[in-house]
Amino acid sequence: MDPLTLGLIVAFTTIAVLFSGVAVASGLLIVAAIFLVAFDGARSLELIPEILFGKLDNFALLSIPMFILMGASIASTRAGADLYEALHRWLTRVPGGLVISNLGACALFAAMSGSSPATCAAIGKMGIPEMRKRNYPDGVATGSIAAGGTLGILIPPSVTMIVYGVATETSIGRLFLAGVIPGLLLVGLFMAWSIYSTWKSGAGDALSAQSYSWKEKLEVLPRVLPFLAVIAGVLFALYGGVATPSETAAVGALLCLLLAIVIYRMTDMKALWTMLRDTTKESVMILFIIAAAGVFSYMLSSLYITQAIAEWIGTLDVNRWVLMAYVNLFLIVAGFFLPPVAVILMAAPILMPIILGAGFDPYWFAVILTINMEIGLISPPVGLNLYVINGIAPDIPLKTILKGSAPYVACMVLAIIILSIFPSLATWLPDLLMGPAIS
């Protein structure tokens, strides 16, 4: 059979199997097994466990459980609340200070955790009730946190970037740096929209200043010091030549664990186990998807589907930006349904040669891809962050949260357009700190 036709059949089968409600990783293994048996014979089943083991046998992946442990231990403490409180007291003089401090806290928290739902939950628990008390519209209160939470996968450390680095054999340290300025750009856009929308809804009084005395402002500072110390420690380990990005994750995890136990007095065995259990749950889930997606892409390339698609796209005579628009459309649709790591691992081997062939920078593309995944996190039907918010503020209907987060999706699309016009926003910082990429 022509590999392209076969590719279409695989695509439809994958969609049908994944939509049946089977776990994503098991679904990928089922599809891979069916097609390997049908086209390579039953003996190919023997190879699957070895391929799966081989996909996991990668030192870079080690950072995933560790960054998850880092985020989970910080999320199980009051650190998020302290950070939020400090920014709030210092920024109240600024119009719209509350929503600015919420988004700022999301961005800073994202710098400690590679996970979007964790960021959303940690800041939202404090931020959403506070914003509603101060008359911010429900849509802004929930939408800003849902969107701010997605920064978790763009601002380093980011699990998504690690997976991209592993799948495309690009430098993880460079990928992390590439996410910094686009992350700040997104924060800026989110802030601008939040303030404009609050002002326009007539809740302008919510934006007015509320004052805290200097004593109140200063007494909160020591509580964010440990947080900043951990960030400084991690950055030093990463860019001071102490450790590779994967090893840095271990330093970060150890520092956060110590922070939780020593500073925040989390000595209760039950609380420690809950945190460890959540870490294991997320880490196993993500690594199993990575391993299964590895088997899936082995199947695609062993049946020449990957190669055929890349060749076929190569023969299409389209403008590179038209091509990029199609790639974005594909990523957004895939991101609506599948978790980011699954999309990256399935799409990267097919997309990478196309992206490089069209003259795009792989680090710039990592940022574009990640923003696309962020859109999926706050869009129906499976937008994870929307459900986290729904759990925090159950009395706000999901419809209001959806309406509230839609403009933030528009901000992300705008960010993709800005980054397409000025690609150096993503590539400037890594080039400055690490020298130009060798590729």
Binding site: V17, L18, F19, S20, G21, V22, A23, V24, A25, S26, G27, L29, I30, A33, L45, E46, I48, P49, E50, L52, F53, L56, D57, N58, F59, L61, L62, P65, M66, L69, A237, V242, A243, E247, A249, A250, V251, A253, L254, L257, W273, L276, R277, T279, T280, K281, E282, S283, V284, M285, L287, F288, I289, A291, F337, L338, P339, P381, V382
Partner: protein
């Protein structure tokens, strides 16, 4: 039957705890390695390989426990839209299909572990780890995961269709 189900649930929890401790061990060993290398200028030999094996084993041994916690993400859009009876059938089918494929993986994972053991395969590094040790997490992890999927399927079959909480599926 009930005893078998209880045994599977218990074993899944035990391997889950082992998986969690392996993550902690990997963190500790990695930090020890960085400390030795950066502060004492010592060379490190075995750590890199061992921590990767710990991570792999933690993932494979953690599979049944995460299934028990309903922690494997799925797309539940279609099951949610279906009427109760077809939904129940679809969820049973998806658990069964998962169990079949993972059962096959447990079998071949066991075969490669046996091969590695009987032929004394070792990793091609200085440490020369006997490969059956990391490999054995495949038959154990996949095997117990298969049993846990069957236990969940059994519970699903016994639950009346209208009472099925969507979480029981592959979630």
């Amino acid at each position: 039957m009930n005893q078998a189900i209880r045994a599977v649930n218990l074993l899944s929890r035990v391997t889950g705890v082992i998986a969690a401790l392996m993550i902690v061990a990997a963190v500790a060993i990695t930090c020890q390695m960085i400390f030795l290398r950066y502060f004492l200028n010592a060379s490190t030999v075995w750590q890199t390989e061992i921590v990767v094996y710990l991570m792999i084993a933690s993932t494979l041994l953690g599979l049944p426990y995460v299934q028990q916690l309903k922690g494997h993400v799925n797309v539940d859009l279609v099951p949610l839209m279906l009427p109760p009876v077809p939904r129940k059938l679809l969820l049973i089918l998806s658990l069964l299909a998962g169990a079949i494929v993972l059962g096959i993986m447990a079998f071949y994972g066991g075969e490669i572990t046996y091969l590695a053991f009987s032929k004394n395969w070792t990793s091609d590094t200085v440490t020369a780890v006997p490969l059956w040790i990391p490999y054995i997490s495949m038959p154990i992890g996949f095997g117990l995961f298969t049993l846990q999927l069957l236990v969940d399927m059994h519970r699903l079959i016994k639950t009346p269709a209208v009472e099925i909480n969507i979480e029981i599926g592959g979630h």
